[in-house]
């Protein structure tokens, strides 16, 4: 993750804020009195960013309750940390606050001779609507007036949508109201798969059938709602394990008929992307999405959540999560392998062994630029361990260093995932990357993604882990987006499609 912390400003920050104010705006700094007043005013929101408790940035929003317009009053980032996405992060935080306060339009002024700032504002959706001549004195620089029209929410009551997820080994039921999460309950059959070292489709499907009713009831209880409060039902109809998906689809259809509420069949992978609306109110597009789990390793280019999702690449053999499970077996670790390898890798040297990075050779990059392969890596680890143990047994080498193997393997996976995702962003000129899927829990993947994205000026979005792993809330969230966009429901004839393409966001 990024190493700064963004929090509301307090009076105690005034000294450091003023120091940075003078550093950033030597000619026209505000007075300490003015700044003090703005910090404490009821109609303002001031945020500060700190690194190791040292203040490195601040930004302020003004929004009077009676008005539906807001102003970005100021934003400053210490020269020592510029170009790492902090300005963007501060702006995002202020815009989230503006959204929370129901602002419809946001205005700001920017110096005509500051193209870096202008570029950021354009990227956030601001337009240049007017120019004030000679605004900034004493330099006589023009000010651009820029405006952001906040994405409109439906004017009516936001729909309450219940989402059902059953594409792999998690039975998930989530409930949302518009973009607000009301409940997210998951029942996992993971433990039942442990002795097999991987998900057994039939065991997963049987578990879904048993978990459906209790999971639904828990979700309704968590949301403090009854089924009669639900406006629509959403269900993931693929991609995933066919027999598992069928349980959720049959359940959703019957619930739809019984309650008289429409059903929306949505794409599980696009659901992972849609999860972000629950934290941000919207999925900012375009975005590249890297979805990594025990069943999927996919790179998506999302230009529009409902209408334009493109598969850039995916694994040609094992999913990344599977590779973790299999290597865990090689190292004598438990299932699921991800957290076990994370633990074993602590203290290990990630550069001890240079394991192969699949599909990164020049010849592969032509045909498989955004595809992944983990089968060779898994075999390489198995062989390496075999050789190391043989040497240790014959007294030629030292005992197997599990921490080094785990750390080096994990590094190879994280490296290839993040490299290709960042490349996809740069190739398509997309300034943001969204992570999803259970493997996002992997600490090294998050760390490396944060580091490489910061270096490349890409904004990184990682929703809360409970929204990254398979869950019903993301399915409900995507369903609610369809409802709010006025899309028609799916009818009752859709099937379960284990290989549903990401271009099919909704199956009618």
């Amino acid at each position: 993750m990024t190493n700064w912390i963004i929090r509301p400003a307090t009076e105690a920050d005034l000294g450091e804020i003023m120091a940075l104010e003078h550093e950033c705006f030597p000619q026209d700094a505000w007075s300490a009195e003015n700044m003090h007043f703005e910090l404490l005013a009821h109609h303002t929101t001031y945020l500060v960013a700190t690194i190791d408790e040292k203040l490195v940035g601040y930004a302020g929003l003004s929004k009077v309750p009676a008005s539906d317009q807001g102003d970005i009053q100021t934003i400053a980032v210490s020269p020592s940390v510029r170009g790492k996405g902090l300005g963007r992060a501060l702006m995002d935080a202020l815009l989230n606050e503006a959204r929370r306060l129901h602002a419809q339009e946001i205005f700001l002024e920017v110096r005509a001779d500051n193209p870096a700032a202008q570029k950021l504002y354009f990227a956030l959706g601001f337009e240049h609507i007017d120019t004030r001549k000679n605004y900034y004195q004493p330099d006589g620089i023009d000010a651009w007036i820029m405006r952001l029209i906040m994405p409109q929410r439906s004017t009516g009551r936001e729909p309450i949508v219940l989402g059902i997820e059953s594409t792999c080994d998690e039975t998930g039921v989530g409930i949302v109201r518009g973009t607000t999460l009301l409940a997210n309950v998951i029942s996992s059959s993971m433990d039942e798969h442990a002795r097999f070292g991987g998900v057994v489709p039939e065991i997963a499907a049987r578990a879904h059938l048993e978990a459906l009713k209790p999971t639904l009831e828990s979700a309704l209880a968590e949301a403090n709602l009854s089924l009669s409060d639900i406006d629509a039902i959403a269900v993931a109809n693929g991609p995933g394990l066919g027999g598992a998906v069928m349980v959720g689809v049959a359940a959703a259809k019957a619930l739809s008929i019984a309650t008289g509420k429409p059903v929306y069949a949505v794409n599980h992978l696009v659901g992972h992307v849609g999860a972000d609306v629950l934290e941000r109110g919207q999925v900012e597009t375009p975005t590249v999405a890297l979805l990594v789990s025990g069943g999927h390793t996919s790179l998506l280019l999302v230009r529009d959540l409902l209408d334009d999702v493109e598969l850039l690449g995916e694994t040609i053999d094992d999913a990344a999560g599977e590779a973790f499970d299999k290597v865990a077996r090689v190292l004598g670790l438990k299932y699921p392998g991800g957290p076990e390898i994370d633990r074993a890798a602590a203290g290990g040297n990630p550069n001890a062994i240079r394991f192969p990075r699949g599909l990164t050779q020049a010849k592969d990059m032509e045909k498989h630029r955004y595809d992944f392969s983990f089968s060779g890596l898994k075999t390489a680890v198995a062989r390496w361990v075999e050789v190391a143990e043989a040497k240790a047994d014959s007294g030629e080498g030292e005992e197997l260093n599990v921490a080094d193997v785990a750390a080096s393997f994990r590094e190879a996976v994280a490296d290839v995932l993040v490299s290709k995702a960042v490349k996809a962003c740069l190739d398509h000129n997309v300034p943001r990357l969204l992570l999803g899927g259970g493997v996002v829990a992997n600490s090294r993947l998050r760390e490396l993604a944060a580091q490489r994205c910061a270096e490349a000026g890409i904004e990184l979005r990682i929703p809360a882990l409970s929204l990254c792993t398979d869950n019903g809330a993301m399915i409900a969230a995507l369903g609610a987006q369809l409802v709010m966009a006025g899309r028609k429901p799916s009818g009752l004839s859709f099937g379960a499609d284990s290989t549903l393409p990401v271009t099919a966001v909704q199956t009618l």
């Binding site: 057994v200 027999g243 019984a258 004598g332």
Partner: protein, 225 residues
């Protein structure tokens, strides 16, 4: 007015709506590979044909199999959720029992519906993989509920025959196929006998096809999906 929704997906997709033990509508889709696609339309169209609103359904009964995995679950999942959505009570019956009841009734003639029938009856259904699900019945009890004397089990047809021969049982056969109306009628008989059951767990009669890896490093046996 109490209406019953009966669902069975142990072979094709079959849905019926009954009132006072009489089928008002029945929808049958014989295809054994389209349960998921068919189940919604089948329920909706059975209700429409019977001119019954979902809220009028007070009980749901589902065939628990035995049946091959995937299709069976579709009917049970739909029954559970329909009951959940309407607040109807939920019941389960063994699908083979419904066939047995109809066969015995056919034998005895409808006029003598509750007269005891003579001679055991073997009911079988396709279990794929060259096997049959089967159960052996002695007849109907006073309420018209079939009395199962063996099964349900899953075996190869030759093994079933051999088993019966060894036991010295000569059993009659039936050509009847499962139908949701028969599921509903069986349930009504159980209700009158007071032997109805809320158990809706699937009767798979087989364990999942999964091999525990003997050697943890053996990647050859793919057990993951």
């Amino acid at each position: 007015m109490s209406c019953l929704l009966a669902i069975d997906t142990s072979s094709g997709t079959s849905v019926a709506v009954l009132r006072d033990g009489v089928a008002l509508a029945e929808v049958e889709i014989a295809d054994t590979r389209s349960h998921t696609e068919s189940i919604g339309d089948a329920i909706a169209s059975a209700l429409a044909q019977a001119r019954v609103q979902p809220a009028q359904i007070t009980s749901v009964v589902v065939g628990r199999g035995p049946a091959p995995f995937t299709g069976l679950r579709v009917g049970i999942a739909a029954a559970i959720m329909f009951a959940e959505g309407t607040g109807a009570r939920l019941f389960g019956v063994i699908s083979l029992d419904a066939i047995a009841r109809r066969e015995f009734l056919a034998r005895a003639g409808k006029a003598a519906a509750h007269a005891p029938s003579t001679g055991p009856l073997l009911v079988t259904s396709d279990a794929r993989r060259s096997e049959h699900y089967w159960a052996l019945y002695s007849g109907l009890d006073a309420h018209g509920v079939p009395v199962c004397i063996e099964g349900p089990s899953v075996n190869r047809p030759t093994d079933i025959e051999e088993h019966l021969a060894t036991a010295g049982i000569t059993a009659a056969r039936t050509e009847l196929a499962i139908s949701a109306a028969a599921i509903g009628e069986l349930f009504e008989a159980q209700l009158s006998a007071g032997v109805q059951s809320h158990d809706v767990t699937a009767l798979y009669l087989r364990n999942p096809d999964a091999v525990e890896p003997k050697n943890l490093r053996d990647f050859g046996k793919r057990v993951s999906g």
